[in-house]
């Protein structure tokens, strides 16, 4: 049984459907990477899993449970966590408060998780009393990841975590993603830096026009001449 499974989902924002049958299955041990052109529906796919728009057909299951169109305040306690593509920190709150908000659904002691996150991102520890809005893009992305980890997720979904970052930060973020995965957290991420991301992906999905175009291991996608030509820039 997969950790998360999307079966033929169709979804949209009220107008014409954006997703026309997307299939994705991820295990807890997987790093799944979704690539595809702008406007393909990559972000929409993640939002559909997280109940941020209405799935009109198909189903989403998480650890065997049907979670189609469930709201976030049910999903987060179940073990799903999502880092949106943009506006993914609370800019008027301190780094520390951002992390606390990630643990909002928890009622137990969060200090161990806080320590883990600060250990993972030592930069954040030094800046924990500073407002997240005052940080650099890379540091904000770390706050966003930290926030998402505070709920102790089983599945972490990231939407273009490396967007707009320098190669140095991109590598750091990717390394952390791999580390988080090794600790037993399933990963589903959307990436524009497709080659770098597919290199460590266990599963790759190419989306175009709201549908799967190719599905395989990361290496299979990298080796496929069609994928390379159409989606990875030759």
């Amino acid at each position: 049984m997969s950790l998360v499974e999307l079966k033929d989902i169709k979804a949209g924002y009220g107008g014409a459907p954006i997703l026309n049958g997307v299939n994705i299955a991820i295990d807890a041990s997987d790093i799944g990477v979704i690539v595809g052109p702008n406007g393909a529906g990559k972000s929409t796919t993640l939002k559909a899993i997280f109940g941020l728009l209405t799935v009109t057909d198909g189903s989403v299951t998480f650890a065997g449970q049907d979670i189609t169109n469930s709201e976030a305040d049910r999903l987060v306690p179940m073990g799903l966590s999502f880092i949106p593509q943009e506006h993914n920190v609370f800019t008027s709150m301190t780094v520390h408060e951002n992390l606390e908000m990630g643990a909002f659904v928890r009622r137990d002691d969060i200090s161990d998780t806080l320590d883990e996150v600060y250990e993972m991102f030592p930069d954040l520890k030094a800046k924990r009393r500073q407002n997240a809005g005052e940080l650099s893009g890379g540091q904000r992305q770390m706050v966003a990841m930290g926030r998402a980890l505070m709920s102790k997720p089983k599945l972490l979904m990231l939407d273009e975590p490396s967007a707009g970052l320098s190669p140095r930060y991109m590598i750091e973020i990717f390394e952390q993603v791999v580390k988080i995965n090794r600790a037993g957290v399933g990963i589903l991420m959307v990436e524009q830096n497709a080659r770098q991301a597919l290199a460590f992906a266990t599963k790759g999905f190419v989306l175009a026009n709201g549908q799967n175009r190719f599905t395989g291991t990361g290496q299979e996608l990298l080796d496929d001449p069609d994928v390379a030509k159409s989606f990875l820039g030759g």
Binding site: D73, H87, T91, M93, E97, M101, G102, S151
Partner: protein, 334 residues
């Protein structure tokens, strides 16, 4: 010296009292705006309504023949605030929540709140008529005088007991609000939702619960402000008429969505108003003998006559919107 004390009594004490009331009203407006993104026009009438709730309770208590060391209005205030918070929740559930559920835009909610304004005013007039009432029909309003130990000062610093209690209670409310917003889980959740509603939702913050807490706080503080205004002056169904503009001005001056800005804005408006209506000729009179013959001090030197004091809020609002539309205390509310 007496003139200076007169100035102190009129402007400083008056400003603190008025500022406290405006601050409590403005906080509600700014919190509602931060969480629900609409201008809650009915807030002034929620204050009036809160005042009437307290008045009914005070009358009941007085009817029981109980006597307290403090004015009855203050004794019943906590209970009135609970009831007013409940009514605020009911108003949201009955009028605003259904609109939100259909994805209504802020303008629609604003217009709905104008409807709520009319409804509250109608209900108050229906049950209480149009007469002006006082909390102090059955008990005296204690005047506190403090003699100033300076030669030549015969006039005491004076204020009423309700005014003193009002300022103390406002202080307590502000400190409590501060701790709530910075220390409690729900208070931080509230700030998170005002900051970034989508991310708050994604984080699993129970946004419906945050909305409820917002109404409880806004409704409770509105009741507090309305009751204290009624205790300081008098209670009448159109109490809100002179209040809505200043409290909106205070919230906007402080930067909509910023609780501390709204408090500062409230005091700014309060002082601006008492200073604008103060007869500055009083302070010039002592120098009468030293002034040249031809310069006669007019008997009234107020910037604004007190019947027109609403213009003060209006002018401040217009100037702030022209010069710093995001409020003078903090940058843009995101």
């Amino acid at each position: 010296m007496n003139d200076l004390i007169f100035f102190f009594n009129q402007v400083m004490i008056g400003g603190v009292v008025l500022g406290s009331i405006y601050a409590l009203g403005a906080v509600g407006i700014t919190l509602i705006f931060g969480i629900l993104r609409f201008a809650h026009f009915a807030h002034g009438d929620m204050m009036t309504m809160g005042g009437f709730v307290a008045f009914v309770l005070a009358t009941l208590v007085a009817g029981m023949g109980l006597a307290f060391p403090l004015p009855t209005g203050f004794i019943v205030l906590p209970f009135a605030m609970v009831i007013a918070a409940g009514i605020a929740l009911g108003i949201d559930k009955g009028f605003y929540a259904p609109l939100r559920a259909r994805g209504a835009r802020p303008v629609t909610l604003l217009i709905a709140s104008i409807g709520v304004t009319m409804m509250i005013q109608g209900l108050i007039r229906l049950f209480f008529g149009t007469s002006t009432r006082s909390f102090f029909d059955t008990e005296p309003k204690t005047l506190i005088r403090i003699d100033v130990p300076i030669e030549g000062a015969t006039r005491p610093i004076s204020f009423t007991e309700p005014q003193l209690l009002l300022v103390i209670l406002t202080l307590i409310a502000v400190v409590a609000l501060h701790f709530f917003l910075t220390r409690s889980r729900l208070g931080k959740g509230m700030r998170a939702m005002a900051d970034n509603p989508d991310l708050a939702k994604v984080s699993g913050i129970n946004t419906k619960q945050v909305v409820r807490v917002t109404w409880i706080i806004a409704g409770g503080l509105a009741c507090m402000a309305g009751t204290m205004l009624a205790l300081d002056v008098s209670l009448k169904p159109d109490l809100a008429f002179n209040i809505v503009l200043p409290i909106f001005a205070a919230a906007i001056v402080g930067g909509l969505g910023h609780a501390y800005g709204a408090i500062a804005g409230g005091f700014l408006l309060g002082f601006a108003e008492t200073m604008a209506v103060f007869n500055w000729a009083v302070l010039l009179r002592p120098f009468r003998d030293n002034l040249p013959e031809w310069l006669e001090i007019p008997s009234s030197l107020a910037l604004v006559q007190s019947e027109y004091k609403l213009t003060v809020a209006f002018i401040i609002l217009v100037v702030v919107l022209l010069v710093r539309p995001t409020g003078i205390f903090k940058g843009a509310s995101t």
